[in-house]
Symmetry: C2
Subunit: 394 residues, 2 copies
């Protein structure tokens, strides 16, 4: 008997890691609808709906606004390959794992990449970006992570955009852990390329990377000297596929697009502002609870994400024991640290559907049971009580 | 009222185009299961099951055998970027649209690509491949399309593999429209990289590209001079993510992987041999019916696919009228021609779930009603009868 011969029934999980998050049942139901051909008029309407809703969520009028058929990481690569050519110069803000990944991907485009290194746990400093830009005569693009999933840190996009544009460069922003949970105002802030993933605050399964590109960046794409090195992620081809000409490129992942359509409907029914406030309120409750347990938050105080909270693992407490017990005995997933923070911090996501008081209280209650088993004494109700109080504030 | 404000209910379609095909309800149900984290032990077992089943379907023992998180087109790119570096030489057999695409993607890797051009409708000629290889001292890889989706033509892989290996090159094979419907024997034939898509004969929605890579190709990957230009499709990173080390790379598209697991279970429950025979039988029925209507098949007689049948549009008959009426009045999708065959041929897929007598008869019956409206006279039952007879043969 092979294990694949058995039907699979996933155990029930409360997904409070860095993503995926649990999704609204409406999204799963939408994905179960019968398939359509990707050039069927009925499916073309679905594509149009998705474009229209993504523009609202990104707060943009950009023509190029659609999901790329890959995960959030394909979004990073899409942003980089479309504007960077061999010999170009780029600057990337690196204040965590994903900034580093962005820099690596830019290097694979043949660009010379200058990193603005920032200590993990701190936001990217606009002054440091300005100083780096002043060192190089011709920077084509600056990349930064809006919400660093590895540290739980928010960086200031609008302020950096101004500096970047003063140097006539494009600003590329990773909004994987912010879009749909924290405001992302592409046009107002002056972002040239922004991408995200579906499995975080948009409340869908992983598999698609919503991308938007400003007319200024589109001009750079159109006038580049060499073809985009990735045929699959070439926005000049994808632009035609997603436009009214519907020039055949690849076969869109129909079921995932159905799901994204429904996920975006859920987002817009709630309203963006209400959604941001919900994420802020529940994150504040979680932070209050964790601090009441004596735990120290990892991210700098005024730069903490409302979608993902990073917290230092107390001295003497085993990372793997705690996460293992949470998963096995409580059905709760939280994330471990990445890179230099591995074993030193936990990452707790409250994203999309899971940004709710019940998730906050369930997790804190479980930690109150588990931490004493690790020799870290806390009283029952110590964290839950503080969170409840915070959540109850007007 | 925006159209996205309404719930979406796709119209019912019989998908007989080049893909996607309709999927087994078990697959859609599996995709609706609650999400797991991508590093959850329960999900890791799902990944292991998928790898094990894909090895059976590809008929290979290759360690690198897993789905890449993109559509079939991402499979082409994966194959190319992992072995080709700037300055390399490649040979690509071009006997249709997808051979041309493969060549284009190889060129975007910085390789010099020599095309073995073959008339559309005919298979790639092993002698022509041999002759092309003899012209170039150092060819790193040869690419070919096993089942050309644009023409409905099957090309001989095993024979070409022998020639390619005699020249110490790698053989890359596109099995998008064959895997799961027509035999693909990776190890026995000596294929070095093979990729497919999920939305054709594997009976799943589009969105994943199963890929397999031989130890010989893996050696080329490991010893390359420059990093793979695509970080997202870098098999040296994906290999670790899909191995027991589970080194974090991207977030696997959980729901799609659930669906692929169930789709592969359906394939193996039927049995590969039975499945190939089913595709052969139903394709023979369709061909008999079309020919009984006086239509001429496009692909060369002894090289016709059992998964996709191409047929010439008769003089005076409107491509768009016929396909439009099929879709609107009968809920049947068939494919138009691509590139030079646009407006000249239809492409009819009988793949996975849809390789069944009911699909053959439903389509032929509809054509018998529609063609006379276009001034092409056929009698009712003329095609259906011939198909029924052929389908009834032992």
């Amino acid at each position: 008997m092979h294990s694949y011969q058995e039907e699979f029934h996933p155990p029930e999980r409360l997904l409070l890691g860095p993503g995926p998050s649990n999704v609204n049942p409406r999204v799963l139901k939408a994905m179960g609808a019968p398939l359509l051909g990707h050039l069927d008029p009925a499916f073309l309407r679905v594509m149009d709906d998705v474009k229209e809703m993504l523009r609202l969520v990104f707060q943009t009028g950009n023509i190029i606004t659609f999901p790329v058929s890959g995960t959030g990481s394909a979004g990073i690569e899409t942003a980089m390959v479309n504007v960077l050519e061999a010999g170009d110069t780029a600057v990337v803000g690196v204040n965590g794992y994903f900034g580093d990944r962005m820099a690596q991907i830019a290097e694979r485009c043949g660009a010379t990449v200058h990193r603005v290194e920032t200590e993990w746990g701190y936001p990217l400093d606009p002054a440091a970006v300005r100083a780096e830009l002043a060192k190089h005569p011709k920077v084509k693009a600056v990349g930064m992570i809006h919400a660093e999933t590895s540290t739980g840190v928010l960086s200031p996009v609008a302020e950096i955009a101004e500096i970047v544009h003063a140097h006539d460069a494009l600003l590329i922003v990773d909004a994987v852990t912010s879009l749909g949970g924290i405001e992302v105002a592409v046009d107002e802030w002056g972002v040239d390329i922004c991408y995200s993933g579906t499995q975080k605050c948009l409340g869908c399964p992983p598999g698609l990377a919503p991308v938007t590109m400003s007319p200024r960046a589109e001009e750079v794409l159109t006038t580049r000297k060499t073809p985009v090195q990735s045929w699959y992620l070439d926005l000049s081809l994808l632009r035609s596929y997603w436009s009214n000409t519907r020039a055949y490129h690849h076969t869109a992942p129909i079921s995932m697009i159905y799901g994204l359509r429904e996920g975006l409907r859920v987002v817009l029914e709630e309203g963006l502002e209400a959604r941001y406030q919900r994420h802020a309120r529940n994150a504040a409750g979680l932070r209050a609870g964790l601090e009441a347990l004596g735990l120290r938050l990892f991210a700098q105080e005024d730069a903490r994400l409302n979608t993902l909270t990073s917290v230092r693992i107390p001295e003497g407490v085993s990372d793997t024991n705690v996460r293992g017990t949470l998963l096995k005995e409580h059905g709760i997933e939280i994330g471990g640290g990445l890179g230099p923070v591995a074993g030193k911090a936990w990452r707790i996501g409250l994203m999309g559907e899971n940004s709710k008081p019940a998730a906050v209280l369930t997790l804190l209650s479980a930690l109150e049971k588990i931490l004493p088993q690790e020799g870290y004494e806390v009283a029952q109700g110590q964290g839950v009580g503080a969170a409840e109080q915070k959540l109850g504030e007007p």
